[in-house]
Subunit: 578 residues, 2 copies
């Protein structure tokens, strides 16, 4: 390690230490010299087609690897990415947004230059990005640059939310001390608080005296970094366990007491429970079936109720108790013999799937006849599965996931177009994990995307990056002729819910995928159950490399039950109005 190095390399090497192996972004004239330092710092550069997609990709990467990064240019680039950064903020994905900014002299003299509003005001974009980031650093000073970088990265990791680092062109090469790199970043450890013991005691007591307890694993469990501790809790209690949509994929669904997503169908069971342990709660309307699944405070213990250091026991919120540390104490303290069992008659989803009725091979594939449920056998350990907002997002609740798999589902931000670039990012993370030998000994795990036609059109160009990076990605394109989710909500026959009809399976050719060799792109079309069976057994699909794309043609108003309920309500409203 040299004694000094350029600021840019300090930043990039720090990211590498923290597990970032690939970085996303788009070049622009205020970040070109910055990009010169990416590869020399040991990172891989992944150029995206546009900045929104780059932001989404970094988000996807971070949800798999624990940290992601994206580089854009001042103004035009960073604003194009802002919606992705906002989504990462809303759903707690730790993304470092690095923005190449104009030289300090231009900023200080208020020069009227391009990528500004020609008014000398250089702080507007800082101000806008503050709303979507948990911390901001402007690297304008040589002596404070490295400490500013370290501090902001800690913020990013502790809160699991995006930060923005603005680096002026003329700071990129400024020499700084490399000393800080030797030690790695210290994430502040939990400090034992005087009230911790009492809170622990009350949680244990509450657990011991419950009669009908359950566990609900929600999605902020990921960023609390307590997936392992939660599994210990699930195993040690044996209590019936559900996930929210956001939490799905964080828990091993092959465990006998894990029952999949807690949907409106479980409402009666939930009502009967007298204690609900909620891990990483995220109680938005879309993640709780319109609050239907939010347990009453009086019978809940929330781990991470108001951020990563808070525990809510019944109505009391206890702050300054880092959840990971708290859970470790809790699992240690629990006496298995005192943990009550909960007698119930829940049926494990795996049993339900075996009981699916037969279907006629020549019938069209429909969601109502079990398209989503019947996909489960296709998944295998290590798969990353992404289901875009729309019918796939609801459908994915019905998947039964194998161990070591992960799922991305719409949660709260619900920005359609997110999932395709997120699949690019997640797949890169998957590949980087394999390279670091941290992927459960799997050598070539798959990333599988389910996406509707409307969403696909939003960010389609990133398929090109998936192709040219030779990633192992399977795309199921649900072609149901427009925004079916919106048709269910309102305007079922309105033209504004239509999208142009594309020849979707021509995409690999347009984006110039290999036409031969092992990364040759393969495409299929599914219309009937016979097609479904045939395609899902095709070894090129199952074990191929590079992009594989399956167009599933479905009827406009075919959707999961929840959406069909909205559609029926809409039809009822129309009748009233007539």
């Amino acid at each position: 390690m040299p004694d000094t190095l350029p600021v840019a390399q300090y930043l990039f090497k720090r990211l590498r230490q923290l597990g970032v192996d690939s970085i996303f972004g788009v070049p622009g004239d205020y970040n070109l010299t910055l990009l010169d330092h990416v590869v020399p710092s040991g990172l891989k550069w992944v150029g995206n087609c546009n900045e929104l997609n780059a932001g989404y990709a970094a988000d996807g990467y971070s949800r798999i690897k624990g940290l992601g990064a994206v580089v854009t240019t001042f103004g035009v680039g960073e604003l194009s990415a802002v919606n992705a950064i906002a989504g990462a903020y809303a759903e707690r994905a730790p993304v470092v947004h690095i923005v190449g900014t104009p030289p300090r002299a231009s900023q200080e003299s208020r020069a009227k230059i391009h990528h500004t509003f020609n008014d000398g005001d250089y702080r507007r974009f800082d101000a806008m990005q503050e709303h979507v980031t948990v911390g901001q650093a402007r690297l304008h000073h040589q002596r404070t640059a490295t400490s500013a970088i370290d501090e902001i990265l800690v913020q990013c990791l502790v809160h699991g939310r995006p930060v923005r680092i603005a680096i002026p062109v003329d700071m990129v090469g400024v020499t700084v001390s490399a000393a800080g790199l030797a030690g790695g970043i210290q994430i502040p450890l939990a400090v034992q608080q005087p009230h911790e013991d009492a809170v622990l005691g009350s949680v244990v007591e509450r657990m011991y005296c419950s009669k009908k307890p359950m566990i609900l694993v929600d999605g902020e469990t990921r960023v609390l970094d307590v997936v392992e501790e939660v599994h210990q809790l699930i195993r040690c209690t044996g209590w019936p366990t559900f996930t929210s949509g956001f939490g799905k994929g964080l828990v091993d669904e092959t465990l006998p007491n894990v029952y999949g997503v807690c949907s409106h169908l479980q409402k009666p069971f939930l009502e009967l429970c007298d204690l609900v342990l909620v891990l990483g709660p995220h109680f938005s309307n879309t993640n709780t079936y319109n609050y239907l699944l939010r347990p009453q405070d009086e019978k809940s213990i929330l781990f991470g109720a108001e951020g990563p250091d808070s525990i809510q026991v019944l109505n009391d919120v206890h702050q300054d108790l880092p959840v990971k540390h708290f859970l470790q104490q809790l699992v240690q303290r629990l006496d298995a013999s005192k943990v009550p069992a909960h007698q119930h008659d829940l049926v494990h989803p795996a049993v339900e799937i075996k009981a699916l009725p037969d279907i006629s091979p020549m019938d069209p594939v429909t969601q109502t006849a079990g398209f989503w449920k019947r996909l489960s056998p296709f998944f295998r350990p290590g798969d990353i599965i992404l289901a875009e907002t729309g019918t796939p997002g609801y459908g994915a609740n019905e998947f039964i996931l194998p161990p070591h798999s992960r799922l991305f589902k719409p949660v709260t931000w619900l920005s359609i177009g997110y999932m395709l670039p997120a699949a690019l990012g997640a797949s890169h993370a998957q590949r980087d994990l394999v390279a670091r030998n941290k992927c459960h000994s799997l050598s070539n795990p798959r990333t599988i995307l389910f996406i509707g036609d409307g969403s696909f059109q939003m960010t389609v160009q990133e398929l090109s990056t998936i192709i040219h990076q030779r990633l192992n990605v399977i795309v199921f394109l649900i072609n149901n002729d427009g925004y079916t989710i919106e048709r269910c909500i309102h305007g079922r026959n309105q033209a504004y819910n239509d999208v142009a009809r594309w020849q979707y399976l021509k995409a690999p050719e347009f984006f110039n995928a290999d036409r031969d060799g092992e990364h040759r792109a393969h495409t299929w079309q599914i219309r009937t159950w016979a097609d479904f069976d045939l395609v899902l057994k095709d070894p090129y699909l199952i074990d191929g490399k590079g992009l594989r794309m399956v167009e599933v043609v479905m009827e406009r108003f075919d959707a999961p039950d929840v959406l069909l309920g909205l559609l029926q309500a809409q039809i009822q409203r129309e009748k009233v109005h007539i």
Copy 2:
């Protein structure tokens, strides 16, 4: 006209009165009921593939028709569009950004719902959008809704900058009085100011006593709405007239005293002038060849120096003098016999083009051998020509434009990816003008886009909208294998300046263009000057309908002179470092 109507229709009908015939956007669950009112209000709905593209399209529309509008949904939609709105702010395009927001009750109760940060804070997006809009209206109150709409539209028109109108779902159908619609919106007229006469006098005096005067038409002339007055000034003085890059296309270049874009080559001439009348100045670095063309204050008169109501004479800025009114007075007051003539030896660009050297038909087409100059005969009256940031943006300076044509060039915001959706918007505006019989008796004028491969990839999906709206658009895709403009600036051989190679001419097939009939898409490829001659004479290209696409294959480092200068400087720097 009914006595009352829903708020949404008041808004849309008002837009229609102001010349908006087509409105762009993307549906989302907080704007669906709003969209129900688009067609009943007499507007055409143009659904885009994503919100950034929709914003760009509305910007393009507004620059042709004087006002544009885009509809997005709360949070995800509006943030995706924010970079387009920022560009409209920077370059003064009056765009009305209408955002469908959650019901008032959700907002007031701070409900944790989707498209928020799950924290009950509903004002963040308002705060972010304030930075990129000249006015904001939140339509939360029935009694003030119509006056708020009217006021905000006046702001938009007077300043030529975007405004944001947020309309909660439950306000869409609220009944309001239609009375205001009867009168139309009154843009405040100029009020005679006591100092106007003195300022007019000093301007006239300065003009009479100049020896070497010139006129520089800059781009804010468009939004000052003084194109007609400027032509009177050009004709009545006979003075040598140039445009900036931003101003190009606003002035009839067939006039004998109009000499095209004032580039660095005109610096010596500019130096010799003792008076420069600048109309609609916009002195950013990129619009002035790095301030080279910004005339000294001591010899300038700036019309619109600091907004639409300011006149700068030498060093003094006079406020509250609306430029349009001032120019009308000025032209009236000028005594042609007292206006001095300026003897000079400028050569009209039309003469230069005729003197272009012969080229060998089998030579590859290059920018250095006059690709841009040689295109001029292809253009015809009424064409809208768009040249994207990159080599086309510089190349377009060399076009000689026919009367009634318009040009979009990179100015200050320089957000690559803008021009393709802007072409969609401009072409729609062109079609709407024809329908209103306001397009100089032209029946089917063309929109012609020049765009590099890197920019094309950014927003490619909007080609689908161009195709399916059957717009008369010609795309020249400059395929020079990556970000050539960035290669010229820095990192000429760096991988981050590469883009994936696509089969660009497969785009119409992928996007499902007609394969027969009058709107069948046509494609061509140009590699040599022989191809160039053949393709540009093809009647399908010249007079076809629908999308025509020409791929022009060029060498990586082929660029206009200005960029080649940067490239040479880069090579020199590298030598010094070795």
